[in-house]
Symmetry: C2
Subunit: 215 residues, 2 copies
DNA sequence: TTCTTCGGTGAACGGCTGTTCACCGAAACT
DNA sequence: AGTTTCGGTGAACAGCCGTTCACCGAAGAA
């Protein structure tokens, strides 16, 4: 065990977190499928077999990582969804939403980048079970976002499928932005990438404002 | 060797292609980093050591796959770029471009889906060398697309950075569409997904038509 | 026909993989 | 104080990994 003065349950939770944490970091090279239990164990200073005191198998670790990653993604969306302000025009409202959303993406990309990039990565490269779990959760997230979008003034006349289409576009774009932000090497870099993301979101929202579901 | 009546150089090329082909397929589970030389060898019916008659190492195979994948992506863009028609309005032009592009994406996703998804996957999950190569090639592709976009009428007043922003958005969206198309399980499914892609592209182009770089 | 080239073979290397088991020692419960 | 619980240990398992080497046999060149 590591340090003294902590209860056994607390120490167990501490080790569990260390495993999840190390796995999230080590999976950045080559994806979860290329991660080994022994790498994780070595990284956090336990013997490989101790891993099984916390997870029944490597697959179970993968699914726990999915849960943790989506906690982070939902937290991001909760922040981005913060009540839209009163504005003079639909366009001002859209700009306000876009800016708030980009701020939320930048903030959460900073503190949860490994979790968010885990989603983008394992949705394409994960072991089958993880890939399917990620895709399923992403579908749910897209549906939630679609119902939020439905409450905005400019989507009043939109069909459900158009809302789903826009939601899908926004979620994919957001994950791309997180990825690009993670590669920033300076504060100026971060601002530049955030500005790109903002402009893309503006373009999309301009398009959405002019959209007509009946067309 | 397999069959008779073929020259040695031809047979060598045939085996090389079989290696690339099997690697592309096997990498769909877990990504390139989780691919093993021995899986590939077993798949195509050669002994593991014969692999080295074609590639100096596994890393070199990865880089060859990058080359092949980007041949497919550039072919897609070449088709999508087909000379824009004469139209009555900017909007009709945009619709025409969008529809042609989506048709090209659907067609190439059908025949080169493993190559195109390789790009989307390994850009996030590949071994460092492959990841870097994919990102570098994607940057080049985005730059090429940006110069193409610059020739469209509605981008006449656009700044270079706005062109890059739109190009980045379009390339990312395209890779997302390829991924979704690959999961289609029926012709109707494909049409539904293609329609989603088309609507997203329409939204973006509506936004782009109204865009003002000086804002 | 003789000689060379070369793609494929099979054994072998050291090392890494996930998982199992019996065991230890300290925390927690009675 | 005695007993149970349980996270971490170390050995062991069968199996896969990338790469090397000497070798074979047929295609191609002389």
């Amino acid at each position: 065990m590591s340090s003294a003065g902590v209860s056994r349950t607390e120490q167990k939770e501490r080790t569990r977190r260390a495993i999840l944490d190390a796995a999230l970091t080590l999976a950045e090279d080559g994806g979860l499928a290329a991660l080994s239990l022994r790498q994780v164990a070595k990284e956090i200073g336990i013997v490989p077999t101790a891993f099984y005191r916390h997870f029944a198998s490597i697959d179970e670790l993968g699914l726990s990582l999915v849960t943790e990653a989506f906690d982070a993604l939902r937290a991001l969306l909760r922040d981005a969804r913060a009540i839209p302000e009163e504005t003079d025009s639909e366009w001002d409202l859209a700009v306000s939403i876009a800016d708030k959303s980009i701020d939320a993406v930048v903030a959460h990309a900073r503190q949860s980048d490994r979790q968010l990039r885990f989603i983008a990565r394992e949705r394409l490269a994960g072991p089958a079970a993880v890939r399917d779990a990620v895709r399923h959760q992403l579908e749910l997230v897209e549906r939630e976002l679609a119902t939020d979008l439905a409450h905005l003034p400019f989507t009043r006349a939109w069909s459900a499928s158009d809302l789903a289409v826009l939601s899908n576009l926004l979620v994919n774009a957001m994950l791309s932005h997180v990825e690009e932000l993670s590669r920033a090497t300076s504060a100026a870099d971060t601002r530049r990438i955030a500005d790109t993301a903002r402009r893309q979101l503006h373009i999309v929202l301009v398009g959405a404002l002019r959209w007509d579901s009946s067309k």
